[in-house]
Amino acid sequence: MSTNAGSTSAVRVRGLRRTYGQGASAFEAVRGVDLDVRAGSITALLGTNGAGKTSTLEVLEGLAPATAGEVRVLGLDPVEGRAAIRPRVGVLLQRSGFSGDLTVRETLRLWSETLTRPRPVDEMLALLDLEHRAGVHMTALSGGETRRVDLACTLMGSPELVILDEPTTGLDPESRRAVWRLVSGLRDEGATVLLTTHYLEEAETLADRLEILHAGQIVRSGTPAEIAQGHPSTIEFARVDGVPEQLAGARRILHDHGRTTVETDALQRSLTDLLDWAARHDVALDGLEARSPSLESVFLSIADGGDPVEPVAAEGAVR
């Protein structure tokens, strides 16, 4: 096995496939995913529901076998190397459960007894702001509180690698920001984080690197800026006919739902040209909006299947 890469990968995936069922009803949820999570970074796996995020993570977590492909977590196979990997990895499932008849403190004590190097229960209660709920039965907790207990378990073993499947789904905005601070803190302490989310804001705020998963494949990877690059800026206004097609820098002009959208590679030039044309012809551009390419627009166009930029399938090889 070669470890000559300049930056070490905490997670390395090549050609991962995962198929559910057999025969005619078989469904391939993961269709050849390549993924590298650099040690000490936060990587966000972004995708709509059903894109294959959880199916991918379950293989990394060692909970499900890969149908095909190679997976290395901390340099080991997640199934064969289970005993060696588990003490070094913390996992937060998208959905999980606890025995309702135990209190928060008891739940954390139970979990800590299963760990090689547990952090003290009281420390975890404080870290996740659960001290005042320590004596409460799990059944009496709110969804957000249960999620925090879950996170306390994930982090209790001081993991080097943290895998979080939609850590903030269902949380109120305040709790969400608290989780963001916690996750950033993990990286600052040297841990590696791989998380999935369908919140773009979350990915943009937290992640050093994004991997956009769509229909079981990674269709785009990079920093948020890199991903938006090559994607057109847009100018929108209430529908006006007769906008000149040869507007400076414009790629194309669309008329849809009573709005006109200009896609452009040169936002400032196109906008100047457009305003100039409008002034000359005395045209009012109602509801005028001009937007640089954002992660959101990239993401939405991928989710719609109308991604104007070719998927950079080769990027993994070039990198």
Binding site: L63, F98, S99, D101, L115
Partner: protein, 261 residues
């Protein structure tokens, strides 16, 4: 960095499972009180008669195998699986075998203590002590292993804790056939031979032989010596061992850790 099963983790988890069992009143009553009730049969009939003793202890064995062990383990496992507790645990350092063992342990321990307690209770009520205590203990251990495995096998095709009330019926009936038949003296030889191959009948035979030294289904007087009990125990021991092996094989093959989507 050991790949072995951790006794510390298993016992720790078993203790929490015991705590959970005590917090569920109904489950606790089923596990502890119910199995002791058959011993009340010792108060009926001739005080100290082997036939009375055998009837009471065989019934106690059956109830112990079915409630603290079989039904309890089945319900606990299915419940934890439904609630995704098992899935959560499996992301951590706990090994699958440790989860399996720790869920079974409280019921298993309860059953072993009850079968041991039956000896002084029966003695106090006029019964003689077991002729072959070792055989009696082996019977208890085999029964516990077999019914634990049956519980995990049943869990594989049980959708929910409620459904367990139904899915547990085949094993409960299979286990009860033998002990029920033993209370019917008039029965054709062939039917009795066939029934003796069921797990419950083998368990009942072993109790009758090991504790009471009863020779054959119709016997009501202790005639077997310690040495003779081993000879008589051969077939029922083999029957129980085969059932235990079948149950373990089925359970291992069909283990399911997550609720069906």
């Amino acid at each position: 960095m050991t790949d072995r099963i951790s006794l510390r983790r298993t016992l720790g988890l078993a203790r929490w499972n015991a705590v959970l069992l005590t917090r569920n009143r109904l489950a606790a009553v089923y596990a502890v009180v119910l199995p002791l009730l058959p011993l009340l049969l010792l108060l009926a009939g001739d005080r100290g008669a082997e036939a009375t003793g055998a009837g009471a202890v065989v019934t106690m064995f059956l109830v112990t195998a079915l409630f603290p062990v079989y039904y309890n383990v089945l319900a606990q496992f299915v419940n934890r699986r439904d609630e995704l507790v098992l899935k959560r645990m499996r992301t951590g350092e706990v090994r699958d075998a440790e989860l399996v063992a720790s869920i079974a342990l409280p019921g298993v321990l309860c059953a072993l203590v009850l079968t041991a307690l039956a000896v002084p209770i029966a003695a106090a009520l006029g019964q003689s002590l077991p002729v072959n205590p070792l055989l009696y203990a082996v019977t208890a251990v085999l029964a516990v292993v077999m019914f634990t495995a049956f519980a995990y096998w049943t869990a594989a095709w049980t959708r929910s804790a409620e459904a367990a009330q139904l899915t547990s019926m085949p094993i409960i009936v299979l286990a009860s056939l033998g002990p029920l038949a033993s209370s019917m003296p008039e029965m054709s030889e062939r039917l009795r031979d066939a029934l003796s191959l069921t797990p419950g009948a083998a368990m009942a035979d072993l109790v009758r032989i090991g504790w009471f030294g009863l020779d054959g289904p119709g016997a009501d007087q202790a005639t077997l010596s310690f040495a003779e009990t081993w000879g008589q125990a051969g077939q029922p021991l083999a029957v129980m061992a085969v059932w235990a092996w079948i149950a373990i094989t089925l359970a291992r093959r069909s283990m399911r850790w997550e609720p069906r989507g």
